[in-house]
Amino acid sequence: MAVKVSSEWLNACSGCEISILNLGDVILDLIPEKIELVHIPALVDNKYFGPLGDGTKLTLPKATVGLLSGGIRNEEHVEVTQEMREKVDILIALGTCATGGGIPAQANIFSNDDIFAKIYGDCPTHEPAGPPTEVIPKYTENVKAIDEVVKVDISLPGCPPHPDWIKAALLALLEGKTEFALEERSVCDTCPVIREEKSAGGAAIKRPLENYEYNPDEPLDKMRCIMEMGYLCVGAVTLAGCAGQTGVPRCIQARQACRGCFGPIRKGAKPLVDMMSALASIGQDVKTVIDRRVLLNRFCGAHGNLRPLPTRKK
């Protein structure tokens, strides 16, 4: 019998769902014989309030596996998350928004009032107004990861998570396993560029206003480490896996620096602190990283990593 899978998206962009589709031909090996999709708004017409829209309580179907992408931004996200937790045996937090808040958790550096004041009160295309308040769910106090609201069984980070890991996790569950985790190693551990571990010169960390020096006809193992060229790359403090089971880090393939989209290597790690020692090892000072608090927590602003700065007393 096919395993029932239920999927929802919360404070998210739908990139995780597209990553599922990027499994490609494998999808049709899994669906519908091995996996039955009982709820996934992107693809299947299952409704919270029944097919006639007359229910009064938000209801999800029972399933063995639940997939949640996106973080928690409003009260309805909380309700969906709790309902899914109740109805599934194994809950997967899919993607970095679900595991750490993701890009939208950068909003945590501002209060909700500040966000609404900007969006509805300071815009060149309309007169200032108050935020909408009817029917729509209220904001939670900040953007949260799923595990700040309910217990999560499996975390599959990534922005987006690579299809290899989605497939591996699903196959493990189909075999009856209840656990799956990415190996705890850094992006640098999987990066082929040349590292000499010598000083990058001690000057302030450069901003990427021109392309890094490399020969496009030569493979990546002939290019020098971006950090050792004096720019910021956060591979040292970022969980590996962006290129799936075999590839090299995806941004490096485009000859660009890592910005940390898989989140910290270990749960609870603080990239700001860890990056300080990574930079110190090549004679650089983390204080010269521009916008460092937000840049180094770009994908992990939940879990209290990003908060509003205390306002200075006048």
Partner: protein, 450 residues
């Protein structure tokens, strides 16, 4: 007051929304609204970020069209720094833009929209989806899943990330296209072109004719349209001027920076997104009234097909002519979005092939270095769902001080609401409705691919 129907989640769309239908005592539709629950606040949390990082942040606005946000954003950063990207860089960006459209169109037509047309709007909701299509037509499903993924993988093989790209940088592009890649991608894109031609033929012969009656009544409203065209009025999704067309076919063309002269936004208390409207049309008034709408225009494929004078490539031009033989310009029937989307699919394959055959595409001069300076920049491209407007101001140290963004589907918030109300009135009468009827309301939404 009569009964309230809550349809949620709206399914087979790319976001989170609820439709609330309010019936009166006779069981007829008193009101129907499309409520969108998502607000992430990009315009606020981009304040203070380094200008050059913006294209890598705002692509997360949408995981289906991250390339389009990435490119609109990088165009805004070019303007802030006052830099002109090299000719090869512009072609590489344009190639990425056209390639990114291909999987998007296939996704929408086959995965999201087709179940209603191939299986029928009243089919059992448990099978009215892509899995149902796979069971009904396994060979086609196999082909579709394969071709969509192949088209996405071209960008992934070239630039590492197809979802949330990083390769467009202020002043240009981070990595060239190698000759070996060019040959390989050209071959793949030619296969996509064949599949695109098959798809539009299949749709025109076997899908659209069956539902022509539905097309004529469901979600039908009369509005204006927005799109991007070149100087001579040709359809273009990467660069040009914005054309805002009135329901009668007259239009204003304007450069990106002038968008605030033409577009205003209405805030309604019952939905998070604002509703852009044409503020020069009705003395700046806004109204969703079905009989007498004010300021309402639409975006996305049908809008671009309506606003352009011609397509930029031969096969797509033939398709446009065929379309215009049958429908007036501007075509108003909402379900024609599906048809317009496929004309653009053909065009995107043709333009990708053109670019991949351009000798300059493998050039190595791919970036003009930039220097930090204060400035203002409005960057636009057409996303599949409509005109993206990224408007940033940066300070002398290269940090964002202000950001305003109007994104594809936002343009369609007002018209979707009108279509929902029109469709609800059409399918619910005297308290009689079933799940198929409610699905037809959703079909009016799906046409917009929100």
């Amino acid at each position: 007051m009569g009964k309230v129907i809550n349809i949620q989640p709206i399914t087979r769309i790319e976001g989170h929304a609820r439709v609330v239908v309010q019936l009166n005592d006779e069981g007829n539709v008193d009101d129907a609204k499309f409520h969108v629950f998502a607000l992430r606040g990009f315009e606020k949390f981009c304040e203070g970020r380094p200008v050059e990082e913006m294209p890598r942040i705002v692509n997360r606005i949408c995981g289906i069209c991250p390339w389009n946000h990435h490119l609109a954003s990088v165009k805004a950063t070019d303007k802030i720094f006052g830099v002109t990207p090299t000719p090869t860089a512009v072609k590489l960006r344009r190639l990425a833009q056209h390639l990114a459209y291909i999987p998007d169109k296939l996704l929408h037509f086959y995965f999201l929209a087709a179940p209603d047309f191939v299986l029928g709007p009243d089919t059992d909701p448990a099978t009215r989806n892509v899995v149902g299509i796979a069971l009904a037509n396994p060979e086609l499903a196999k082909k579709v899943v394969h071709m969509r993924q192949e088209s996405a993988m071209v960008l992934e093989k070239w630039l590492g990330k197809v979802i949330h790209p990083v390769a467009a940088v202020p002043g240009g592009f981070s990595r060239p296209l190698l000759e070996e890649e060019r040959k390989n991608f050209l071959e793949k894109t030619k296969e996509q072109f064949e599949f695109a031609k098959f798809t539009i033929k299949f749709a025109k012969e076997e899908v659209f004719p069956k539902y022509l009656d539905t097309v004529k009544v469901l979600g039908v409203i009369k509005t204006g349209f927005i799109g991007t065209v070149t100087e001579d009025g040709t359809h273009d999704i990467y660069d040009g001027k914005i054309r805002l067309m009135k329901p009668d076919g007259n239009y204003d063309d304007f450069v990106y920076e002038e968008y605030t002269d033409h577009i205003g936004e209405q805030i309604e208390p019952w939905t998070y997104p604002k509703m852009p409207f044409a503020k020069k049309w009705a003395n700046g008034e806004f109204s969703l009234d079905l009989e007498n709408p004010k300021g309402i225009y639409r975006s996305n494929a049908l809008a671009r097909i309506n606003t352009c004078d011609r397509m930029s490539t031969p096969e797509a031009q033939k398709e446009l002519e065929h379309f215009r033989d049958q429908f007036e310009r501007p075509a108003q029937l909402t379900l024609l979005y599906h048809w317009a989307r496929l004309i653009e699919l053909v065009n995107n394959c043709e333009r990708s092939i053109e670019l991949l055959e351009d000798p300059e595409i493998t050039g190595r001069d791919i970036r003009t270095p930039v220097e930090l300076k204060a400035g203002h920049g409005v960057g636009c491209v057409e996303a599949p769902r409509g005109t993206l407007i990224h408007d940033y101001t940066g300070d002398e140290n290269g940090f964002i001080t202000k950001a305003n963004m109007i994104v594809g589907t936002t343009h369609n918030q007002a018209p979707i609401n009108m279509s929902v109300k029109q469709a609800a009135q059409e399918v619910i009468k005297g308290g009689a409705y079933d799940q198929g009827a409610l699905n037809k309301i959703e079909m009016a939404i799906r046409a917009y691919d929100p």
